[in-house]
């Protein structure tokens, strides 16, 4: 710590240059934070997927419906413990930009299938007793200032009721939280029996979007998936069964290889920052050759000079990195900027720690060559260059 004033004063030497370098590091780390959050939003569901859950969808595409009656047949397949279904409702609240996921479900089996959804017992009871009842995730409830007892109109882009009306009324009977950080708390779930009875007879009656099944032994999941697909082979609605994680991944892959895209952008950004900061440090050391000579003359060893230069470059990148990561965290914690398209949009702590590690590594890499240059200076030569 006693060397800190010396290190700090060197950073203040050229305030404009240091500020501009800090700013470029800060921007790079803000970008890092946002890209991590976007990657989390797009592929983070894979980490949260249940290892014992399989998704069964129509073989052709997720938008093709499956008969609800498949549930009983699925539950008879050896290794399947439970099956439940969901259907994409495609609703908006008041305005098209207020989009979020809604799905009709069978409450008891749905909650049993998804223990990561935390709903107080009295709210669960109210849901079972209220035919038009819906539960909504904490994030969406806070977003629209909904509370229990509210009646909310949701306009579906897909489903109409028997009178052709696309606006459905729901009673908010529960607000759920997630058991894990990253559990999606933006959807709304309502009762399938109400939905199926009220929806138009013209299309989709008795049909559902996809099934989630729980297997008894996750190590036998592939075998069970094959059995499920065999069960519905040569039917009018053949199925494709895959682990929940793979399902989420294939959903994200529709956009592209997110991890590769993010890694490529970050690679380019950090390489640029490496050059910018490296140049700043190299210039800073060249300018003070005489001062380094004086320090060596009064007894600073080569090792200490290397340490001082590295400490200076690391301090620069740590300040810039911490400020960038902090700013990214602040902005990202305000929530999904797309208004519902990226419900898992958050800055994972793991990435925050990785970002901090990168800032230290950046300081080391950008400082090591100027440090070695400073170390190699001959005192007598350096003193002449004051």
């Amino acid at each position: 710590m006693k060397f800190f004033p010396l290190i700090w004063s060197n950073l203040k030497r050229k305030k404009l240059r240091t500020s501009l370098t800090l700013l470029s590091i800060l921007v790079a780390f803000v970008l890092f934070g946002f890209l991590c959050a976007i990657r989390q939003a797009l592929v983070g569901g894979v980490d949260l997927a249940g290892a014992d859950r399989l998704i069964v969808r129509h073989k052709v595409s997720i938008i093709q419906l499956l008969p609800e009656s498949y549930k009983q047949r699925m539950e008879r397949i050896p290794g399947v413990v439970l099956a439940t279904h969901q259907t994409w409702f495609g609703g908006i609240y008041q305005d098209p930009k207020n989009f979020f996921m809604q799905s009709p479900v069978v409450p008891e089996e749905f909650l049993e299938m998804h223990p990561e959804i935390i709903l107080p017992p009295e709210q669960k009871k109210a849901w079972l007793e209220t035919r038009t009842g819906a539960i909504v995730g904490r994030k969406t409830a806070e977003r629209f200032h909904w509370k229990i007892g509210d009646k909310v109109p949701i306009q579906s882009t897909i489903w109409a009721d028997k009178s052709g009306n696309r606006t459905w009324q729901f009673d908010i009977v529960g607000i759920f939280d997630g058991a894990k950080k990253g559990t999606d708390t933006t959807p709304m779930f309502f009762r399938y029996d109400y939905f199926d009875e009220a929806r138009s007879d013209n299309w989709g009656k008795g049909m559902v979007g996809w099934f989630t099944i729980r297997v008894k032994d996750p190590s036998r999941a592939a075998e069970v998936a094959k059995l499920v697909d065999q069960e519905f082979e040569n039917s009018s609605a053949e199925t494709k069964t895959e682990p929940e994680g793979a399902f989420v991944q294939s959903w994200a892959k529709q956009i592209g290889n997110i991890v590769l895209i993010v890694a490529s952008i970050l690679g380019a950004v950090f390489f640029t920052i490496l050059l910018v900061t490296g140049n700043t440090m190299a210039q800073a050391i060249r300018e003070r050759t005489g001062e380094l000579g004086a320090l060596k003359a009064i007894g600073f060893t080569n090792a200490r000079i290397v340490w001082l230069v590295l400490a200076e470059s690391c301090l620069l990148t740590i300040i810039g990195g911490a400020a960038g990561l902090g700013l990214a965290w602040l902005v990202i914690s305000r929530g999904d900027p797309t208004g519902g398209l990226l419900p898992l949009f958050f800055f994972p702590t793991r990435d925050l720690v990785i970002g901090f590690g990168i800032s230290i590594a950046l300081g080391f890499v950008t400082g090591i060559f100027p440090a070695l240059q400073a170390m190699r200076l001959r005192v007598a030569d350096a003193l002449r260059r004051m």
């Binding site: 006693k2 060397f3 004033p5 010396l6 004063s9 060197n10 203040k12 030497r13 005489g290 001062e291 000579g293 004086a294 320090l295 060596k296 003359a297 009064i298 007894g299 600073f300 060893t301 080569n302 090792a303 200490r304 001959r378 005192v379 007598a380 003193l383 004051m386």
Partner: protein, 233 residues
């Protein structure tokens, strides 16, 4: 020339220094002998390129001789490793440079404190030493000032305070008045003389100014790599 005494603090024996420039060897010092007794204020004079600064660097452990030996207070320093030499300099030598070589981003007191950062002294002890050194050079009232706000003479006094703050065995001054006007130069010479007479500091000062060398207790002349008691005529 061979100035022998029984209690030499600095002992330079048969020293040669050869620099290589391209394929050419340049002999800067040849078979040079010098003894500086403890408590002496020695002026080292000579024309430009005569090897004055090279000799000072050898005495101060900033460079190593090609041949011969350099001993300070009985310890040979010419064979020490870089690391050991740096540690030795921190303990035994104070340097005063012509261009002061102060850190422009540090205040006067922080500049003076620099050599103490290499010791195990506590913050309070370092502060006390810095105050004493600044008081000796008469700059206590300028402790919080940055070098750019100080005059040349004041900056050199800060440089001297930095040189003496660790109470070194030997104070080596390379043209300490070379960048100052006559008045400021005189103040610095008075200060060095005071350090020698009142505090018993052994000083070796390189200068080309006869006015400065007149303040020393002895003057030796270096020419073509050899020492003499008389200037070259």
């Amino acid at each position: 020339m061979n100035a022998q005494t029984n209690h030499a603090l600095v002992s330079v024996d048969g020293v040669e220094k050869v620099f290589r420039r391209g394929s050419e060897d340049i002999h800067v010092l040849s078979n040079l002998h010098l003894q500086v007794p403890s408590g002496e204020f020695l002026a080292l004079m000579g024309p430009s390129g005569s090897g004055k600064s090279t000799l000072l660097n050898l005495i101060g452990g900033l460079d190593r001789p090609t041949k011969g030996s350099v001993s300070i207070a009985g310890d040979r320093i010419d064979g020490l490793s870089d690391r050991a030499l740096a540690a030795w300099r921190a303990r035994h030598v104070g340097f005063v440079f012509q261009l002061y070589n102060l850190m422009p981003t540090l205040t006067a007191e922080r500049n003076v404190e620099l050599p103490l950062l290499l010791t195990h002294l506590s913050r309070a002890e370092r502060k006390k030493h810095v105050e004493t050194a600044l008081a000796v050079v008469g700059l206590s009232h300028r402790a919080k000032h940055y070098p750019r706000t100080l005059s040349g003479g004041e900056q050199q006094r800060v440089g001297i305070a930095r040189g003496i703050v660790t109470d070194p065995t030997l104070l080596l001054c390379d043209e300490p008045t070379g960048d100052l006007d006559r008045k400021a130069g005189d103040e610095i010479l008075n200060l060095l003389q005071g350090l020698n007479r009142e505090h018993g500091k052994t000083i070796v000062m390189v200068t080309h100014d006869p006015h400065a060398s007149a303040r020393a207790s002895r003057t030796v002349y270096l020419n073509k790599g050899q020492l003499s008691n008389q200037p070259e005529t």
